[in-house]
Every structure is written in C-alpha cells, then in structure tokens.
C-alpha cells in the first residue's frame, strides 16, 4: 500500500481528482486491448530484467541523467518501483493504485531532475525491446504483432500522461512557492524607532498582494510590539476599489491589535481614485509624505508617554 506524505498528496490530489476512466478513454482503451495484453504479458514478464536494462542503460549514456544514475538511493528506489510497475502494466488493473504508483515513479525522476526528453527516450528504448519480443511471438504475422503492440502502447501513453501531469503540477507548486517568496521579499517592514514600524509598498498592488501585505503587517506588529505603523504608498501609482478596501481593512485590523496606522505618500492620482471610489477617507489617518508620517508617529508615541491627561485611545 502506497503511503503519501502531505506534500505529495497535494500534488497528486490535483491529478487524481481527474476521472480515472477518462484517462483510459483518452487512449481509447477497449476490452479487446485488455485481452491482447493478457496474451502478450509473458513477453514482458519473462524478460523483465532485459526491459529494465534497456531503460536504465539508455539513461546511463547521458550526462543529464547524472542526478538519477549517480544517486544510489534514488536509483535503487526507481529500479524497484519501475520493475513493479512494468509488471503492473500488463496486469490489467489501471485504477488508483496503478496511477499512484506511476505518479510516485514520476516524482522520483522529478526529484532526480531527470530531463523530460531524456526520460521519453529511455522509455522509448524500453518499448522498442518489448516490441521486438512481441514481434518474435507472432512470427510471420506482423499485423497481429502490431495489434498487440498497439494495445501495450496505449498503456504506455497512459503512463506518460501521468508522469507529465505530475511533473507539471509539481513545477507549478514550486513556482507558486517562489512567487510567494518574492512577494514576501518585496514587502519588508522596517523598524525605525521603538514601537514604530514603516511598511514601504513598492510596485503593483493587486488584491492578492494587498492581502499578503495585511498578513505581513499584522505579524510585524505582533513581533515588534509596534504601536504605530506608517504605511508608505509613494511607490504605488494606481489602486482599484478592491485594494482600497483592503487598505481600510488593514488599518482596522491593526487598530484591533492596538496599533495606529498612518498612510503616507498618496499620489494625486491615487488620492483622487480613493475619493472617486467612495472610500471613507475619514477612517484613514494620512500625511503627505513619509517624513511627515514619521513625525506624526513620533508625536503619537511621545504623546502617549508624556501625557498626564488621557483623552482617548491611542489608535482612535
């Protein structure tokens, strides 16, 4: 029984939800194919080592397979699993376990950073050997041999689709993670004074990034115990209503955490957009530029320390 770790499951899940039956239909797999596979299964099973050798020896000829061939553990894992899978290819059961097994194989090759083109070449080398064996089984009757080989090829292409989908899904996940990291980097918070944070926003602000900003800011408030945050929007050229709402929500969420937010650097265009969008600017504490914002912030902080008459909550 194959066990999946959490990360595998997410990628596999994105594939496995696809109708398994649909995958078989895509390669036109019929009951006749099933019968033919049973007829030639010995051509595969009796020569397992030969077929596996064709696959791995092909890989061994190329530098690009170093990641797999050079790793004892990966190679061992791959060999074992490829052998089991080859047996399963003529087994007739192409359900979830079969797919999972092929998926896992694909992930091993992915981990070894095996070039896809090279993988295809090796796979083809293995198929060629199997074709020869099938041919030898039906001497003098090439059309029958071809029909049987075609049935086997359908399963082979079924497999290839799983490997490709798995690698694509995995790569997409990596790209998503990298994009996250880049976004994280582009929204740093700077602590200038005690209890004062500055969050400079640079570049294009979309709904997704704005949400990220909120999370970053709130986590920073907690980590630095900030009482005032200056959100500098000098680097932002346009905002839409979604982003404007995010901004308001960020300010309110910061208030719930006991921090006052000052927005600075709103350009004339952005300011006008906000007004047009009907954003309740009364709820925003704003200053023209970053310097003004910092001064205001210090005032707020100093006010809290020096005051003997408290008239209201700091964040109001």
């Amino acid at each position: 029984m194959l066990e999946f770790n959490k990360n595998d499951f997410k990628v596999f899940g994105e594939m496995a939800e696809e109708d398994l039956d649909a995958r078989l239909r895509f390669v036109d797999f019929t009951p006749e194919d099933f019968t033919r596979l049973i007829e030639i299964k010995d051509e595969v099973l009796d020569h397992l080592d030969e077929h596996l050798a064709a696959f791995f020896e092909h890989l061994g000829r190329f530098e690009k397979a170093r990641g797999l061939i050079g790793s004892v553990s990966l190679l061992q894992e791959a060999t074992q699993l490829q052998r089991e899978h080859l047996i399963a290819m003529v087994g007739g059961d192409y359900g979830i376990h079969y797919v999972a097994q092929q998926f896992q194989l694909g992930q091993i090759y992915n981990r070894a950073q095996l070039d896809m083109g090279l993988y295809m070449g090796a796979f083809h080398a293995m198929l060629s050997g199997i074709a020869q064996r099938i041919s030898a089984r039906f001497p003098g009757d090439s059309s029958v041999a071809l029909a049987h080989y075609r049935s086997f090829k359908k399963v082979a292409f079924f497999d290839l689709a799983i490997v490709v989908d798995g690698i694509v899904a995995d790569r997409e996940q990596t790209i998503r993670r990298q994009q996250e990291a880049i976004r994280e980097l582009s929204t740093p918070t700077l602590q200038v004074r005690e209890r004062l944070l500055i969050l400079p926003i640079i570049g294009l602000l979309d709904s997704h990034r704005a949400k990220q900003l909120t999370d970053t800011l709130l986590q920073a408030i907690r980590a630095h115990r900030a009482k005032v945050v200056v959100v500098d929007m000098t680097g932002v050229s346009t905002v839409d209503s979604k982003v404007a709402n995010h901004l308001i929500q960020t300010v309110e969420a910061a208030r719930l955490m006991g921090a006052a937010a000052i927005i600075t650097g709103l350009s004339a265009d952005v300011a006008q957009s906000l007004v047009t969008l009907g954003v309740d600017l009364g709820r925003l504490n704003t200053m023209g530029d970053l310097q003004g914002g910092i001064e205001k912030a210090e005032q707020l902080l100093g006010y809290a320390e020096r005051s003997t008459e408290r008239t209201g909550h700091l964040a109001d």
Partner: protein
C-alpha cells in the same frame, strides 16, 4: 470549562482559552459583572491571545461585557487579538467599536494605568 479570573490590584484579568464555548463566554460575562462590584475594580482585561476564532457571538458577548463593567465603574480592554482573528473580524464587519483594544497584557495594563478624563 470556566475562564479563570485573576485580581491584580484594582484590575481583574481573564485569559480565555482556545476551546471557548458559548456557555464559557456567558459565564465569564456574568462573573465579571459580579466581581467588578465585589472588588471595586477599576479595570478589566480580557486576554484573547489563545483564542483562535472570534465570531459574531464572541464579539457581541465581549461588547456586552464591556458595557456592563462600564456601568459598574470599570473600563474594559481586550488584548491579544491575533493577526488572523483581526482579519476575520474586519472581514465580518465587526470592529469592536467602543471597546478598547491593545496588543497584549503589558499594553493593556499600561492603558488602564493612565489617568482618564471622567
């Protein structure tokens, strides 16, 4: 499971736990109302640091708690709202308006310590 209430001078402090049921919250509200009068309390701190979800019921109950203690002469401040919870409150449209909030226990005590205009 009831919420423990601690007394620190003329301040009462309650730290709520994550698995807080509706009954626990209502019980807290009642107990606070009584104790505030009992100890001539000046301030109440509700520490929600461990609370992983604050929904409309929790918000409503805490607002009622603050209103009740105010009537009995004590100011209430809620501290420790977590970032995720703050985001959900704002998205729900619950801003806890009228109730003071601060980052943590230390800030809450500092806020209560400041003299106020009556």
């Amino acid at each position: 499971m009831s919420v423990p209430i601690l007394k620190q001078g003329d301040v009462l402090i309650a730290s709520v736990q994550a698995a807080l049921t509706d009954h626990d919250l209502l019980q807290l509200k009642d107990e606070m109302a009584h104790k505030v009068g009992q100890f001539r309390t000046r301030g109440v701190i509700i520490d929600v640091t461990a609370l992983d979800v604050m929904d409309s019921f929790a918000t409503r109950t805490l607002r009622n708690l603050a209103a009740t203690t105010h009537l009995r002469g004590a100011e209430t401040i809620i501290v420790g709202i977590q970032p995720d919870v703050a985001v959900s409150l704002v998205q729900l449209g619950l801003t806890l308006e009228g109730v003071a909030t601060a980052l943590d226990l230390e800030e809450g005590l500092a806020w209560l310590a400041q003299p106020r205009a009556a």
